[in-house]
Point group: C2
């Protein structure tokens, strides 16, 4: 299963594509942080990011889209842009018949690091480790997009914990999740 | 000039099209409140509303889109859906090369009723009066969409106050705006 993870944002939108193979191994297909200039009209910026999202969908043809769920607790201006882009992402997925899964930031952190309150560098470190990359993808939005895709691969049904195909990475995750549950 | 006014929302999205003729007279072309079922997935709901927005754009071919500017002060869940739909509307306009203008609710109320804090029934009453309708369009989202379109026609450049072509409706608006300014 190929998954597009999206960390939505108007200034920077993280787009990360991974393959979750039948062997339960996840691998990097593509990652980028699409940007739009802060000085432009919002409609123009949304158009630019929508084009970047469409390009990734058309080029890499994922089977599912995983998206960060937006909350209104953060900075008001940022949240509005984030929600607008998330609407655009959901529409692009819907029009291609792709399922969309939403994850909170803490669900993603818990899945990837075992700690729902993990710091950004920890998420980047685990993304690199899981995908076998020499170093964390930059900027953080790119790493976050991959983390969302990994969370979907692991939590969204690609790999039930304890299955025969469980890999080392999955065992690490299952252990971490159990530990997080104990702590929580 | 033909204007599409949009009162964005995930449950109900007001869509109102008016013509602002050279005589500065505004007239109703089309109005509806597109809806999506609360029980559906957000992506499906966004897809349904995007189809309704596209249908209005394709059928009535406005020259400009006027949209309510979203704030995060209201109910958190509502605001997220509103922002998501506003992103979809801006994308649809942008992809058709249409300019998008954003107005705050109080700007719209001030333009249409002369009072930035006018109640909903007052907005509906003035929309009906300005467009020569027997009664206010229902639901309120439909009337609000038309109010946004009217605000754009009047404030957005269709009719500079004091121009030779000023109509009775425009004079009422100009008077009301001056009164509002004095009060404010």
């Amino acid at each position: 299963m190929r998954i597009l993870g999206v960390d939505p944002g108007l200034t920077r939108c993280g787009l990360g594509v991974i393959d979750a193979a039948s062997a339960r191994k996840v691998s990097l297909v593509h990652v980028e942080a699409a940007t739009s200039p802060a000085g432009e009209d919002v409609a123009v910026r949304i158009g630019m990011l929508a084009n970047a999202i469409d390009a990734v969908l058309d080029q890499h043809r994922p089977d599912a889209v995983a998206l960060e769920r937006v909350f209104a607790q953060q900075n008001v201006r940022t949240v509005m842009g984030t929600a607008q882009i998330s609407g655009v992402v959901m529409l692009a997925a819907q029009r291609r018949g792709l399922p969309v899964a939403l994850y909170t930031p803490s669900e993603v952190k818990a899945a990837v690091t075992g700690d729902g309150r993990a710091a950004k560098p920890q998420v980047g470190y685990m993304v690199a480790r899981v995908l076998g990359l020499a170093e964390p993808p930059r900027p953080a939005d790119a790493a976050d997009a991959l983390a969302i895709a990994i969370a979907h691969a692991w939590r969204g049904g690609a790999a039930p914990a304890g299955s025969d195909a469980t890999t080392a990475a999955q065992r690490r995750w299952a252990d971490a999740e159990r530990a997080a549950r104990k702590r929580g």
